[in-house]
């Protein structure tokens, strides 16, 4: 985190903070009220709703049912499949974006000619919206009139179903998301790389270490804070993947691309079941919490410095 400003040249150290409860509370009020109303309240509502049942006609609550909604979810094969897919999305996204971002960052850090072009392209891809990206890639993935199959056909490779095949749809969506989102971890890594003092790798190279050794023994450990941040952000992105799925496959074929986010949305908005939708949302948040907790544990600082 940012180091605090230089200490003033006097004996009594002023941390820069004034004690002013009224003004302080007043100034944070707009933001805090908004966040309480629009983030915390829905969250708490979601948890409470997951324990109730609702009338399908006017969405009013018809009573507390304890964990019935959760039991129903577990009995639904579509839910179990969505749960599994959520983990698959997370694993694939992390497995693809983090190493790729690392490689790209290292490459761009060398500042070879062409880096600017490359970096600008990646930043541009980041700035496009999820919806537009999904729509463009949807066109490219079209089995009978799309660009990708046109290219495959031209080099005499078999055309692929992509989004219309239950074994390829999920990975097709992941590839599109990797394309779009790899810029973010890459920028984080780039910032991290540039924070490493040049003397360290140079000294190691003078000692005869190869570039690869330098990378693994010096660069990577120093990048650890960046990696943790990048992993965390990508995990959230992968868990909440929604817009591309809705636009490209609507969860199909045969539910192969449905994750918990989409499943919850469909329960809430297409099948008029706010109770089950909330239960599903709670499950999604639990998955997110578990995965990030696991990451923090695995990557915790084992050596005390």
């Amino acid at each position: 985190m940012q180091a605090t400003a230089a200490k003033p040249p006097r004996e009594r150290q002023w941390t820069g903070q004034n004690s002013n409860p009224i003004l302080g509370l007043a100034m944070i009020l707009p933001a805090a009220a908004a966040l309480a109303l629009f983030q915390f309240l829905p969250l708490i509502t979601a948890v409470l709703n997951s324990l109730q049942s609702f009338s399908p006609f006017d969405q009013s609550s018809t009573g507390w049912v304890g964990l019935d909604n959760y039991a129903e979810l577990l009995a639904d094969p579509a839910f179990r499949s969505a749960l599994l897919n959520t983990f698959v999305y997370i694993a694939l996204m992390l497995g693809l974006t983090i190493p790729l971002a690392l490689v790209l960052a290292v490459l761009l850090d060398k500042r070879l000619p062409g880096s600017t072009w490359s970096r600008n392209a990646i930043i541009g891809a980041l700035a496009a919206s999820e919806a537009v990206t999904a729509l463009i890639w949807n066109q490219m993935y079209e089995p009978s009139s799309g660009l990708f199959n046109a290219i495959l056909n031209a080099v005499h490779l078999p055309t692929q179903p992509f989004l219309t095949g239950s074994s390829q749809a999920l990975i097709s969506i992941v590839i599109m998301s990797v394309w779009k989102d790899v810029g973010l971890p890459m920028l984080i890594f780039l910032a991290g790389l540039q924070a490493i003092p040049r003397e360290l790798p140079e000294a190691a190279e003078l000692d005869g270490a190869s570039e690869r050794q330098v990378f693994w023994t010096i660069t990577l450990p120093l990048l650890r804070p960046s990696i943790i941040v990048a992993l965390f952000m990508m995990t959230i992105t992968a868990t909440r993947m929604f817009t591309p799925i809705l636009i490209m496959t609507q969860g199909g074929p045969q539910g192969s691309t449905t994750n918990l986010a989409l499943y919850s949305y469909m329960l809430g908005f297409e099948f008029q079941s706010p109770g089950s939708a909330s239960a599903s949302v709670v499950c999604m948040l639990v998955v997110l919490a578990l995965v990030t907790a696991a990451q923090s544990f695995i990557l915790r600082d084992k050596e005390a410095k």
Binding site: P8, W14, P113, A125, L126, S129, N149, S226, V229, R240
Partner: protein
């Protein structure tokens, strides 16, 4: 972790023989970099080029592969014409602009106030509240969409313009960013003002705010881009087609029976995306810094 600027050094100071040698050694990497750039530019560029083809050309000309898969062989403006006359897309763009301005406006005000309070004012519970506020960053919008919708219903704000930006205008990213920036202001400046008898509010307005302009620029840019690109929330909360934003309107172009709108779809996608791409590249100092910060919480 410092916010190092990510600009490249000038490459003009080596002499020609050295330069040739340099290029020869790094030819592989340079080709790789060029290819990477092409990969990331390609889909949007292809969409932009395709927006100048008629819908029929797009559907029939892509497969099998030929020049017409990539380039408009009979370029036409008809898609844009159709988009802005028949489909009234400018209406959607205007709505998007309204939502973005609303979000940016509120974000700047609320985040600056809160950020300064957390940076320079001590009050009971400030640490707890700050931690709680930051916690909301973990809550994906997809998780709260159903209850949030009902809250908006209860407030009577469904299908209104404020509903588009109000829920997400105050977000932890903005508060964190501003707090960081206010902390970076040298204490002497504020001390000097305090000696002159200025209260914290006056210090905030006359000293603190003017000195965080770059950060404010970052905040404005990031919030603008986030708002511009939002899809799910507007989809759910805005049910009046006249007030719907561009992203949702574009997605509606995808699914019309027997009248696929590929041409106008690409035109709309281009109209909505290219300005943002250019903006983010030109202002990448701020954009990148904002993105990197959003992870550092």
């Amino acid at each position: 972790m410092t916010m190092a600027s990510l600009t490249l050094p000038q490459a003009g100071s080596v002499d020609r023989a050295e330069r040739r040698h340099f290029i020869a050694r790094h030819a592989g990497s340079m080709i790789l970099l060029a290819a990477i750039g092409i990969i990331f530019v390609f889909p949007i560029a292809w969409a932009a080029l395709s927006s100048f083809k008629s819908t029929n050309d797009i559907i029939t000309g892509t497969f099998p592969l030929s020049w017409s898969s990539f380039l408009p062989l009979q370029p036409t403006f008809e898609n844009y014409f159709y988009l802005f006359t028949e489909l009234n897309f400018q209406r959607n763009l205007l709505n998007t602009l309204i939502a973005a301005c609303g979000q940016v406006g509120i974000a700047v005000v609320a985040s600056s106030l809160a950020g300064y309070a957390f940076a320079r004012l001590r009050f009971p519970g400030s640490r707890v509240v700050f931690a709680l506020l930051l916690l909301t960053a973990f809550i994906p919008v997809e998780a709260i969409i159903v209850p949030l919708y009902r809250i908006m219903q209860w407030l009577g704000l469904v299908s209104t313009y404020p509903a588009l930006f109000l829920p997400f205008a105050c977000n932890p990213f903005g508060i964190f960013l501003m707090r960081q920036a206010f902390r970076d202001i040298p204490l002497e400046m504020e001390e000097a003002a305090k000696i002159d008898g200025a209260g914290p509010l006056r210090v905030f307005l006359t000293i603190a705010l003017p000195n965080v302009k770059p950060t404010l620029a970052t905040l404005v840019l990031i919030q603008f881009i986030w708002s511009w690109n939002a899809y799910l929330w507007p989809l759910v909360i805005m049910q009046d087609p006249n007030k719907q934003i561009a992203q949702v309107a574009i997605a509606n172009l995808k699914s019309i029976p027997n009248f696929p709108m590929d041409g106008p779809l690409f035109a709309a996608a281009t109209a909505v995306t290219i300005p943002l791409v250019i903006l983010s590249i030109v202002l990448q100092r701020y954009y990148v810094r904002g993105l990197v910060t959003s992870g550092m919480k």
